[in-house]
Assembly symmetry: D2
Homo-oligomer: 438 residues x 4
């Protein structure tokens, strides 16, 4: 009699290369072998590596971020066979808990080098940078961004069921069309299947090769299954309703985040971590048609960190870019401007621009679409919670003496807003108290 | 001894044409004569017409929406001279209250005809439609969208200080460039100065003519002063910090909303109303530089309607449009998809697509930017509060019997999702229980 | 077509003595003539005087509080006949709004003289004191308690349906028994019917006399109908389910509060005001038996002022009194100690004890029963919202310079914590920066 | 480089008798040997047994609850020496996390037999009863109270610093006076020092004996140090400011609760569990005088489970007892009536009275002091969150078919509301669907 501990459906190792672990995979494909089977109604624990599979270290140098190998990502745990699930069903995934590993109580936030992944503000902040976050219970702090502490809005960045062959084909076709139509773009607009460094769990060589040729990359979320949706509020207690496209659902999960801000603007922008997620699974037969769902929906859990509305400063941004150019209802331009307004605002307290860029990526900022029909200006707002700072950042604050804000980690050749030999930035082009070029 | 009632700084008439009232204006220009003077630190009441100046009636027919004259809008109250305000200052505007007029306890939400203003979903829903909302205290209901009741998140859609001549010139120049660059677009991308129907308060004929030639339209919000930002949370108790560009600030306000959803997707999408706003004004000398502000910021008030996180269904949308086409990190496409997911979801309870379109525009939905760096898919989410419905809309709800959902108001020739003689829609192109064409 | 303004079911005059107004009454009795009839389902406005009927003035002297005539209170509006209501039904009262009169934007909080009404802390603070509050929209401030501003949690202190003759008899009997059993107590333990100053609306002389002999006083709430429950959260949007004891329900309401703290410790402790309440009425047939209700229940509205949990300081109190005496699970003793802990805490910022006593009565403090079975100590907690102060009161605050806190209003002979000729306090017995005697 | 896992300052064993473990103790006394030393500023993990030291089992029978030995309780972990703490300081205890043991994911709620501890409603419900709760991540459910699931408001029931000899003497004196004054009471009013089963950690026999004679029992919280305050909101992220009375503070903690309702009405009423608490300690020199504190204060953490205000039903209770007797401003009587109203309300859904009694003890109900000066009736309210039930309990719910509610665990001889041979209850005296005698 009595309840025993919850079963762990999938264990990972922090000491073995991710590419050698059989219950991990880094592509979406219906034929990746199942890692385990889970009963309808069962609750299990699933261990996950961080999304890079351990490429980023707990150091004060961002060369690991600059050199990250994006053909390897994301390492996901699974896929898991959910008994009784069939195409057309919904898989109800209730996130009972997410925790970092007890003996690895830290995570990282990175700004990618513009030449390797980049991010939302890479035209202004092109260098690789990093902040390491230490976890103590529900809270995190960083030696790279002092005077900040907040409770994690912990969640998986990625969860979803495997695509069917037909769905996979749809993905590859429409993304290829986008790539074809933008051949001359100065940056990648989408990532086609990539055989290099494909990892398909316990698949044999031949299957792995095929998955490499056909399998969808895990970078984008996609409407048919969710995937890398990066929704910060998919935290403890959330219920997610996921479309099922193959027999057994083949559910995968990974890319755990201790916290993230709306937009996850720096791409590697959440507080990325390895850890354990506890999930209850239920199958809702014929749910897609019955509920009229084409994409996942979710209901948040009850324990989100609460800040009263009056404890957030909301910044407004419009679709006029930093060069003064008017864009037509471009929400991304407006959102970028909104983030820049916060960077400018926090300078007076001593933070460098890169520190704020990192912070906005991972702290629980609220990014809202305010208005998007008042031509030509879309308007977005971002709420910055004042209570994550241990000093007063309100508009009425008088920053009497500058606090020592130290520095985030930079790639070699870029330090503290000064350029050293080999650094790629010109002094005027990024922060550290300096204004970006407009 | 004792406090007397708060002074009303500006009265409007519901019986006189808006164009004849001296304390209203419908363009942004530094030379519009001041309507009144307000002391630094003073609290006053300001009456406002609805944004159209009374063009929309409390009827069950949407012809007034179809025929609305957009050269006249928005009728704003002011401008008000704030004593002591000078360029470079911030004007701290604290919204002490917003109320509809006691003897006009109703408002309207409109979907504009695609040929006259349009809206976020006009390719799918091109017809004019309307819902009238009745106010009882803090709540509103509509005979056009039954089984819904919610507390207003009441706020002004527009508030801001007048542009300086230099700021105005910047606006006109950059918007003209956008228009010039998009000459062949099938819709307006911006609205240049429009002499027709210009109303400049008490300006004489000559000044009015000049303001008509130079004055900026009030449709878009703009980064330098805010204006028509349409931020739903700028409600009771909010503090807004507005940049001052001219001596005396010349503050204007209007476009009162009883409620609005993030995005205000149907353009005339809030619950538009006439009413009274009570504001306290304070001048923060040299605030723009001291706080590093280029655009307004605000801190919400404490009395926003509260729904627990677990009482909202969040819908996800991605930048793949309804034709299956992949877009590159286009947040607007993702947001449109998110709204369509809700329309599809609510059909099973008996609502027509137009009813939901109207509802999403004005109910307090939470629109979030979730992720916008995972190429090629931006992801947005919208939280739909379950408790605004008087029946269960949760995923586990069993819609036993269809409720009688009646109909919203349509323009002549379009009724209840059936096309009648003269109607512009083909039967397959819009809802009423029918699926839109994909 | 179109909604007209909401009907006012009962008007009051601020210029006529309360005792002469026909739609007011100050006793509970089934035979008080109805003031008006209201339809099942109807929404109406009801005007109310403040509970004293205008005895307290907007002045800086508390003699009016010292001399208040408690035989006259509370002046309630009604009773209202609700069509179709019968004994055994529930009356669902939805509070659509509560507002002060526009031309009387102020209210008062009083500490009663120990010899005339007293209050929760009258052994320590025996003098009459007063604070006048000015309203601006949703907010209030007081010249008598500087550096405080908060949004009102506006509500009626009293609402309920008339007792039947049988219920009234139960009340009078059990309260008489309490009085009889405590004849020697040094204070009133209950208030029996009191013919003096009885006001029974439009009743004739004979009926009025009978009501004076039989009618229950309005001071206490009572389980059978609610009445003077003084629940601070019965604010805008609340739904209250009230037992019906007589045909037509005979609903009355009054004692409007702009705000109140849990406990309303100073008796006249809310921010008392005159104003207008808007109510929707619905009859639930046979509701008492169907829902198993013996006393009212309610569901709060959605617009309560929100403070994040981390923005409240919670003080703990136990059932050991200020003389060091241990009481047995006495929650009132614990609650009194909790309030004293707050008074002590706020002294260092410069407030006098009476100012804090007044503030705790009317500000939205959260009073919780923590534990009440751990013999011999009951434990209660009170949450004090930090954001109602315009300076930092957190434990880490450094009160650099004392703020000028002025003074609340006192009765003649008692000023600023100094005793003047004729004052009843010895200098050591109450605050004003001084410690109370323990 | 890099953060290592947090140190565990105290380990306990689930297999060794609590009375044999050196880092546990069950009395308050300044001379209990320290279990470990902790640095000012350090964060540590502290393991704790459940408060009974393992007396209650995961079974379906409540004989263990009936027979619990209260001379043994509570087993606390510690005391811990905090470096640098001295009398007059405050110890700032920040609760970084609380978790059950991973391999013991369950807890218990008990109603004590009236003859052995009893509880708040023991005159009506005198039998021992029990509910076992299973934990899955943040949630708990019970086979003994079906159709309920909620997120834990996890916290320590007891935390505090050791009393000085002087403080201890104060406690013993004043509680002895209470006992002496109530010699003829039919129940214990306080518990004097009890040498039987005293456990003083690693103390030798002589010291243990002295602590047995002098040491204060752990049952009550006390104003000077907090102790068993049973405050449900002292959860993750809370900061508690504790008075220090001896050198090194000698901090102890235990009595972990997965959840508790305000009042913890059934005495063993929380969801009692063993587990691990993670705490950060900081010493505030001279804090008692600087902050004017005589008792602990705390600031709640940000991750409390959130229910919107409109998702709670508030029940009202007044100080008229179930026999119809009027009490004078007795808050405990009012609170008892409030709990009885909920029991009556939930009967119609099929729950037995004992099930609801257990549920109200441990679920996150909000118990408020509403009014306590309106002679003779105190009024209290309790908010019952609707969303902890998996069916609709709102007033408008139609309980179509009775759900199968099973039964809680009872002591032998009492089952399902029927009395069997040897049972102590008469059938009419307690619930199980039956009304209690009034």
């Amino acid at each position: 009699m009595g309840k025993t501990a919850i079963r762990t459906a999938c264990k990972v190792s922090l000491d073995t290369p991710a590419s050698e672990q059989p219950y991990l995979h880094n592509r979406w494909h219906p034929d990746i072998p199942s890692a385990a089977s889970i009963k309808d109604g069962e609750t299990v624990k699933i261990e996950c590596l961080d999304w890079t599979g351990g490429q980023i270290l707990n150091t004060d140098n961002a060369d690991d971020v600059r050199n990250v190998d994006l053909t390897r990502v994301h390492y996901l745990s699974g896929p898991f066979e959910i008994e009784g699930a069939a195409p057309g069903d919904l898989l109800l995934v209730e996130i009972m808990d997410v925790q970092p590993f007890e003996d690895q109580p830290w995570g990282f936030t990175g700004v990618f080098d513009k030449g390797n992944g980049g991010g939302f503000l890479d035209e202004i902040y092109p260098s690789a940078a990093k902040a390491i976050w230490d976890f103590e219970g529900i809270f995190c702090t960083s030696r790279h961004i002092p005077h900040v502490k907040f409770a994690g809005l912990i969640h998986p960045g990625i969860l979803g069921c495997a695509p069917s062959a037909e769905v996979l084909n749809t993905w590859n076709t429409r993304e290829a069309e986008l790539i074809a139509a933008n051949k001359l773009a100065d940056r990648d607009v989408a990532l086609p299947p990539q055989p290099l460094n494909v990892h398909a769990g316990s698949a044999d060589e031949e299957l792995t090769a095929r998955i490499g040729r056909e399998g969808a990359r895990t970078i984008p979320g996609r409407p048919e299954h969710g995937g890398n949706c990066d929704i910060k509020n998919l935290s403890r207690g959330s219920k997610v309703y996921l479309p099922v496209h193959v027999a057994g659902a083949k559910f995968s999960v990974g890319d755990l985040h201790f916290s993230q801000g709306d937009g996850e603007i720096s791409f590697c922008g959440a507080i990325e971590m390895a850890g354990v997620i506890t999930i209850n699974f239920k199958v809702i037969k014929n749910g897609m048609a019955d509920l009229g769902l084409k994409s996942p929906i979710y209901i948040p859990g009850p324990v989100e960190p609460q800040f009263g509305p009056g404890r957030q400063i909301f910044f407004e941004g419009f679709s006029v870019d930093q060069h003064g150019k008017q864009h037509y209802l471009d929400v991304a331009v407006a959102y970028r401007q909104t983030t820049l307004r916060i960077i400018e605002y926090l300078r007076r307290f001593g933070y460098s621009d890169y520190q704020v860029y990192l912070l906005l990526s991972c702290a629980p900022i609220q990014g809202h679409v305010a208005g998007l029909v008042d031509i030509p200006n879309a308007c977005t707002t971002i709420g910055l919670p004042m209570d994550i700072f241990d000093f007063d950042i309100s508009p009425s604050a008088v920053p009497a003496k500058k606090l020592d804000m130290g520095s985030c980690a930079f790639e070699t050749g870029v330090e503290e807003g000064k350029i050293t030999a080999g650094g790629k930035n010109s002094e005027s082009s990024f922060g550290g108290g300096l204004s970006y070029k407009e």
